[in-house]
């Protein structure tokens, strides 16, 4: 399955020998274009319910993009990504309520702290691989679950925990340029696009090549002069950063977060959907985000019982895992490639 993924990026590499700049720029431009069409379409077509669901979905897809890089590029599994989303959300709420800075500052703080936390726990884990790493990160997620259910998220109160026990709960203000639901959705889409572009650039440029080498084998990478530790750590930090940003964006959507929504099982679920969405194409993250929030919203909207929804989810998860090794995104890109070949074939004839 890993082998199947590599060819998708390889043609671009081989072309990059002749005309370098357009090849990096074109896929990035494509991301911006696709996201623009997606966000405008959703903004125009959906009502308040769908707008809110899609805002969460896009915000979470930002955290998936970090997971996808770890897994798709390096073969590393992190089962604490949702906990890092929680860390980012906590910090953003804490800073936001304490100092009332512009939203962007709280968000950045959330991202940076989540990146640091990801890194601190990532470094000892750098020696581990495969299931062992996965389980260590799952233990982290379990620890976070216990802590956050005792602490809760800050809501404008005093003290380190910032809990408003006396007065009503305060809401985190949205960015001043995007206070309305539609504006905030577009804002989140813009942030996500930025994240996707940064990640895609990483894949196409030097870090991506280093990651690919590390994946081939660490001895190979070391022999080629790649600093394995730095590049691995950088991947962890990047992944944590985007998780943190996603947490801040989620906090901005509702105005606050709830500790009970950050259980270890959620992190497990997030990873499962990352695979289902597809971790080798940038839009796999978007698909995973939509699966995580928009599909349950659809089932809720259809009035399907919550437990039945969970059951449907389970069945769909297994089906996707068993039938689509590169995820839904992989299938879509294969389809696009086939259609493209069909057209070019016709032109040639």
């Amino acid at each position: 399955m890993n082998a199947e993924a590599v060819p998708m990026t390889q043609p671009q590499h081989s072309m990059s020998d002749t005309i370098r700049r357009p090849t990096v720029a074109f896929p990035l431009l494509l991301i911006v274009l696709t996201m623009a069409i997606f966000s405008v379409a959703v903004a125009f077509l959906s009502n308040a319910f769908w707008l809110s669901a899609c805002t969460s979905a896009v915000a979470l897809s930002l955290s998936v993009t970090g997971l996808a890089v770890l897994y798709g590029q390096l073969g590393l599994v992190s089962l604490c990504q949702f906990a890092l989303v929680g860390v980012g959300g906590w910090v953003a709420l804490r800073i936001g309520h304490a100092y009332h800075p512009p939203f962007e500052l709280s968000m950045l703080a959330g991202g940076v702290v989540a990146a640091l936390v990801g890194l601190v726990f990532g470094i000892p884990a750098l020696r581990l691989r495969g299931l062992y790493l996965a389980l260590v990160t799952l233990m982290l997620a379990g620890t976070f679950q216990t802590i956050i259910s005792a602490w809760g998220f800050p809501d404008g109160g005093p003290g380190f925990l910032g809990r408003a026990d006396g007065a009503g709960r305060a809401m985190l203000a949205r960015p001043s340029m995007a206070t309305g639901a539609t504006a905030y959705f577009l804002y989140v889409c813009a942030m996500a696009t930025l994240g996707f572009v940064v990640m895609q650039w990483h894949k196409l440029a030097k870090p991506g090549r280093a990651w690919a080498l590390i994946r081939k084998g660490e001895t190979v990478a070391v022999a080629s002069g790649v600093n394995v530790l730095t590049y691995k750590a950088w991947a962890f930090a990047l992944s944590g950063f985007f998780a943190g940003i996603a947490g801040a964006l989620l906090a901005g959507n509702v105005g606050q977060l709830d500790g009970r929504a950050f259980s270890a099982f959620e992190s497990l679920n997030l990873f499962a959907l990352t695979i289902v969405g597809g971790s080798y194409n940038w839009f796999g993250a978007l698909i995973a985000g939509l699966l995580l929030r928009a599909v349950p919203a659809l089932l809720t909207d259809l009035g399907i019982d919550g437990y039945v929804t969970i059951g449907i989810f389970g069945v769909a998860l297994f089906h996707a895992l068993a039938t689509a090794p590169t995820g839904i995104a992989g299938q879509i890109s294969a389809l696009i490639a086939r259609v493209g070949r069909l057209f070019s074939g016709r032109e040639a004839a």
């Binding site: 809760g152 509702v254 606050q256 500790g259």
Partner: protein
């Protein structure tokens, strides 16, 4: 033997009574029996159905009442269209659903909401949207400290202190251990109430907070018992209260310490689940009247459930809350001109509600216009587990919660 016979006779009469009352006339709307056909009035509700506990009984009961209302003339000819959504115990989902009901469906009022997470997530949104909520069951503090949110129930803290008051007055408790969940604004809030009452009245109180996700109930019980309290009060949901009681029974503590609980453990299944070892040893606070009370409004509730609800809908305290919320909404809506029912007029009418009488409440319910918070239900009863059932052991008594000072002061101005 004689005792068994007595119990049997009593339950037989009770059974007969309820069988008779099932045929009692149902009262709702204008009792005309004519279905309402006008333009529907949209009323929304958010409930926590899927998750650690099922809170949807409140909205099921409210739905039964609205069905009854619609079959009997509706609101001056206009039927109520009642939209219920399940927040799945997730605040994010709760916020999405609030946007759906209020912005997309254009609900004019929310009735019967009962959720663990919804108040915190949506109270501000409701205030901004100018919509009022007559909630069924509120749990965390946010439900009782919001401007547009008025629950019909008393809340865990008021209820727990109601139980504490009973322990002080009737059980002569001199020391207490309070066990609450370590969830901010729920467990700490309730147990803080016990501690501040302890300061006021001069008894010994200890607080033990537990992670409801923890598997080990025995250690919590041992810790609570270590300070040798006269009574232990629980502020846990029934799902956690039952294992705590089981662990206490295992340690034989049911013979030495009396256990009490806030209304969260008042569920018909609990006495049978915990078994005969707790007969007369486990007291629970009731936010509403006895579920089998033969008083007129309670009987009307049961009759409405029989005729307009599903057979499987539980007849529990949550359901009473939903029924009351629906009736209060009806009362408010009936004051309006049916041609002019908008969110603004409905909100204004709801704010004016006062002196709402029902024998399910201890005292008349009011909204409290202009108040920053709402906690109209603050007098409660007590029941004890006996023979697999709850037996009511006290009349209505005001909860001694020190935090209710503002509410009591407002009530004094109303008189």
């Amino acid at each position: 033997m004689l005792k068994i016979l007595k119990v049997m006779a009593a339950s037989l009469t009770l059974g007969l009574l309820s069988a008779l009352s099932a045929h009692a006339a149902v009262s709702c709307g204008d009792n005309s029996g004519k279905p309402a056909t006008g333009e529907p009035i949209i009323i929304g509700a958010i409930t926590g159905k899927t998750g650690p506990d099922d809170f949807s009984n409140s909205t099921k009961s409210a739905l039964a009442y609205f069905n009854c209302l619609n079959a009997n003339g509706g609101i001056k000819g206009r039927p109520v269209k009642y939209l219920v959504e399940d927040d799945q115990w997730n605040p994010e989902t709760a916020a999405q659903l609030a946007a759906k009901l209020v912005n997309d469906q254009k609900a004019v009022l929310m009735v019967g909401n009962s959720s663990y997470v919804e108040c915190g997530a949506n109270a501000e949104f409701y205030k901004k949207a100018g919509i009022e909520v007559i909630a069924g069951v509120g749990v965390p503090r946010e439900c009782f400290f919001a401007q547009n949110y008025a629950p019909t129930n008393a809340g865990p803290r008021v209820s727990m202190l109601g139980a504490m008051g009973y322990a002080l007055d009737k059980l002569n408790a001199k020391s207490v251990a309070c066990i609450g969940p370590n969830i901010p604004n729920v467990g700490t809030w309730s147990c803080d109430g016990v501690v501040s009452l302890a300061k006021e009245k001069g008894f010994k109180a200890e607080t033990i907070l537990m992670d409801p996700g923890s598997a080990d109930a025995t250690s919590i019980i041992l810790k609570a018992a270590a300070s040798k309290p006269d009574v232990i009060v629980l502020g846990m949901s029934k799902g956690v209260a039952v294992p705590l009681l089981t662990a206490a029974e295992e340690q034989g503590l049911n013979q030495t310490i009396t256990f009490l609980s806030a209304a969260s453990a008042y569920d018909l299944s609990v006495p049978a689940t915990i078994g005969p070892a707790w007969d007369g040893k486990f007291f629970v606070n009731m936010e509403f009247n006895d579920l089998q009370a033969t008083t007129p409004d309670n009987q009307n509730w049961l009759a409405v459930m029989d005729k307009y609800g599903q057979k499987s809908d539980p007849r529990d305290t949550f359901a009473q809350a939903g029924y009351l919320a629906a009736r209060i909404a009806e009362k408010a809506l009936m004051t309006l001109d049916p041609k002019n029912i908008t969110r603004e007029t409905v909100s204004a009418a709801v704010r004016q509600v006062k002196g709402f009488q029902s024998d399910i409440f201890c005292a008349p319910w009011y909204f409290g216009d202009g108040q920053p918070r709402h906690n109209a239900n603050s007098s409660t009863r007590m029941a004890v587990s006996e023979g697999g059932k709850w037996k009511v052991v006290s009349d209505c008594a005001p909860s001694p919660d020190p935090e209710l000072k503002d509410v009591r002061a407002f009530e004094a101005t109303m008189k």
